[in-house]
Amino acid sequence: MTGYFLQAFIYLVAAVVAVPVAKKLGLGSVLGYLIAGLLIGPVLGLVGSETETIQHFAEFGVVIMLFLVGLELEPRALWNMKHKLLGLGGLQVGITTVVVMGGAMALGQIWSIALTIGLIFALSSTAIVLQTFQEKGLQKTEGGQSAFSVLLFQDIAVIFMLALIPLLALPELVSNSQEGTGEGHSGAAHFLSSLPGWAYGLVVIGAVVLVVAAGHYLSRPLFRFVASSGLRETFTATALMLVIGIAALMSLVGLSPALGTFLAGVVLANSEFRHELESAVEPFKGLLLGLFFITVGAGINVSVLQENAWIVAGATLGVIVVKAVLLAGIGQLFGIRGSDRWLVTLSLAQAGEFGFVLVNYAVQNHVLPTPTAQILSLVVAFSMFLTPGLFILFDTVILPRYTKSRNQQQADVPDEAGTVVIAGIGRFGQIVNRLLVANGLTTVVLDVRTEQVELMRRINTKAYFGDASKPDILHTAGIEQASMMVIAIDNRETTVDMVKYIKHTYPHIKILARAFDRGHSYRLKYVGADYTVSETYHSALEMGAEALRESGFHPFQVEQQKTAYHNIERKQADSLYEAWLDDTSGKRVDKNYLKLFMQLEEQIGQAMQRDRVDGHSRSRGWTPPPKGYADNPSQEGNEINKAAK
């Protein structure tokens, strides 16, 4: 137990120290983790033996990551990607495999080993690339989207690779070790090998159908049930249960767990619980992915490296160059231009974490001899090591060359309005939302009441279950991309806290907050709200106007009185707010404030009476000239005209 704690502590210390330093130096968190792993592993020798076990565990980080990626992608978005997915991804995997295989055969490998090496290097690192894209905000660019389609295709292709590799088994390696199929995938292999081919197919299809159907029909009642308990940790547990369950099911039938959870994510992308789910599993993703990168660093086998330093270095550079050239060519073929093509080229030129999986799997299945596998693992690891460097190259050399011309091009295009996050979809928020959506604005609506969210969904209003006062929920709801936030929740204190937090963390976001009353409105303004309105103010004004109309006032005059009332309110609101700010008693309602308030009342009274008491001379509006003026108008007009000429 003590040893366990000690190891965990060492890993965490390495991460805590290395990652912030790496980010400060502009290297990105991935390189930070890799360096941390290098330090505690090969350099200091603090960890080592358990790396492989931890690596299996940490690969779960990739699984969670693909679940999150899936959550971001609606089925329709996935369908829209199909050409890039199949075309770009298919060509990349196919051509890279063939070219690398050819290279390996030219270096004297037999065809089956060469093919396996080709397959291993056809893959890129989903973990590094997506993590870096997210940190740099590149997901939505054309290059980012294209790279993502390629990665997705690779993850699908892994399934077929895992099926293909056992067929390449070398007779001499099989006879060398007959003791078993190894661990890892053996459970699945045993279970499935007892089935005939058609039954295996059915089981695989059944598993996929199960994930999709359960995600579609069972997840909602389950989440609703859990959410009604109001316990956040239960929700987190449910989310983890879901991801782990799917991963287990997929491993059992021999599919990629990452692909299974990705599918589940896509199915749940439309769910009202999406943002809550994201924020529940995201911390796990971050930690486990970090762990994964550390293990890659820690897993460097120093003795093998020393013996084969030149081979490893040459192969690593060779792989990166070959992949980059192929990617650039394929990108060109698909009409990806400029900085986007560079992004695709540089971001996908490394080998990936599934490379490790394939290497181990190939050894287990007697396809690769162990010495070759050790060298291949090193090449995979080092190519991943160099990826952050390629991203830095992209950032510092490539991007500056393109941003200048792009800015000039887009000078006349107005900035696209960001999304509007609306907290609270009750009687107030839904009217705001309806008006915005009807006018083509993108809104993200959050509410903590599952019944309300469900009701909104039933009337085709897209709403999500989630507590908007929680920073992580706001984060997954995309507050970084938002330009505006409307707060219409019923808790007064929470509203104040939210305004304070959002204004502090995202100063550029306009906050429109609904206040309970005047005092609440001032407090909201004080903590940074850009616009506040008391929830009853405008409807009360309408109701008052209706009462005037009912009492026999002319409708047009009623509108004028209403406008006059509103104008005075608006003008006086500022001085009242100043008085409220000045109040030192802490009660915010001192004598000065009360006096001002009564002045306001008086002014409104005067404005309402004005027309009736003092004739037209001081009143404003559609007033005729004084009586008698019209008796001699032409004379006066002529006088002026004469003077003008």
């Binding site: 406008t563 509006g621 559609w622 000239p625 004084p626 002026i640 005209n641 003077a643 003008a644």
Partner: protein, 207 residues
């Protein structure tokens, strides 16, 4: 004759349907960019027609030239300009006893009309020239002591874009605004024209 250079020009722009505007929006954007011109989008500033009388009167006091820019609606201005007149040009400010605030300022209109130029003739189907139709505004200028200039007009505005006539009109408008700012328009000559388009002979052809 010009009083002095660097006249301050106030453009009061009224267009209730800006999303559909093909002629007036570009002109308004141009006006915003001419130094010495204050361009005000009335429908944007007073979307509920709740005109701030004090503010508008203050604006008038601060400028030497007042220009209404609008698309012609029923042989007159869009309603907010009428509302602006009704409220801002008060007795005692713009006319009547002690109402001399606008005295000697220049006043003119820049308008677009859907009908073709030949419709705005005595024998055309609109029966009156554009200067005749704008007589209420001319008399408003007279009564308030302003010096009236004939309008800058673009006819056939619904097809101006297709016929590629907008850019020429824009440069004409820009030239007019710059001349107003510089104060180098010969008032006697300009005031006698049916349209100020003809003040610069080379731009007479299409209007």
């Amino acid at each position: 004759m010009p009083d002095n250079v660097n006249q301050r020009v106030l453009v009061l722009f009224a267009h209730p349907s800006q999303a559909r505007s093909e002629v007036n929006m570009p002109l308004y954007m141009d006006a915003c960019r001419v130094p010495g011109v204050t361009a005000v989008d009335l429908y944007s500033e007073y979307p509920t027609f709740n005109i701030d009388i004090d503010k508008e009167q203050q604006r008038l006091l601060e400028h030497d030239v007042v220009l209404f820019q609008f698309p012609l609606y029923w042989y007159s201005t869009p309603s907010i300009l009428k509302e602006w007149q009704d409220l801002v040009l008060e007795y005692g400010f713009a006319y009547g006893h002690d109402g001399h605030a606008l005295k000697d300022k220049l006043f003119l209109c820049a308008l677009s009309a859907g009908g073709q130029a030949d419709a705005y003739q005595t024998d055309g189907y609109n029966h009156f020239t554009i200067r005749q139709l704008l007589q209420p505004l001319e008399q408003m200028a007279n009564l308030t002591g302003m010096r009236y200039l004939p309008p800058l007009a673009l006819f056939g505005s619904r097809t101006a874009k297709e016929e590629d006539r907008i850019s020429r009109h824009r440069s004409r408008y820009k030239r007019l605004l710059e001349a107003l700012v510089a104060g180098n328009i010969d008032y006697a000559i300009a005031a006698s024209l049916p349209k100020i388009n003809q003040y610069w002979p080379d731009s007479q052809e299409d209007c």
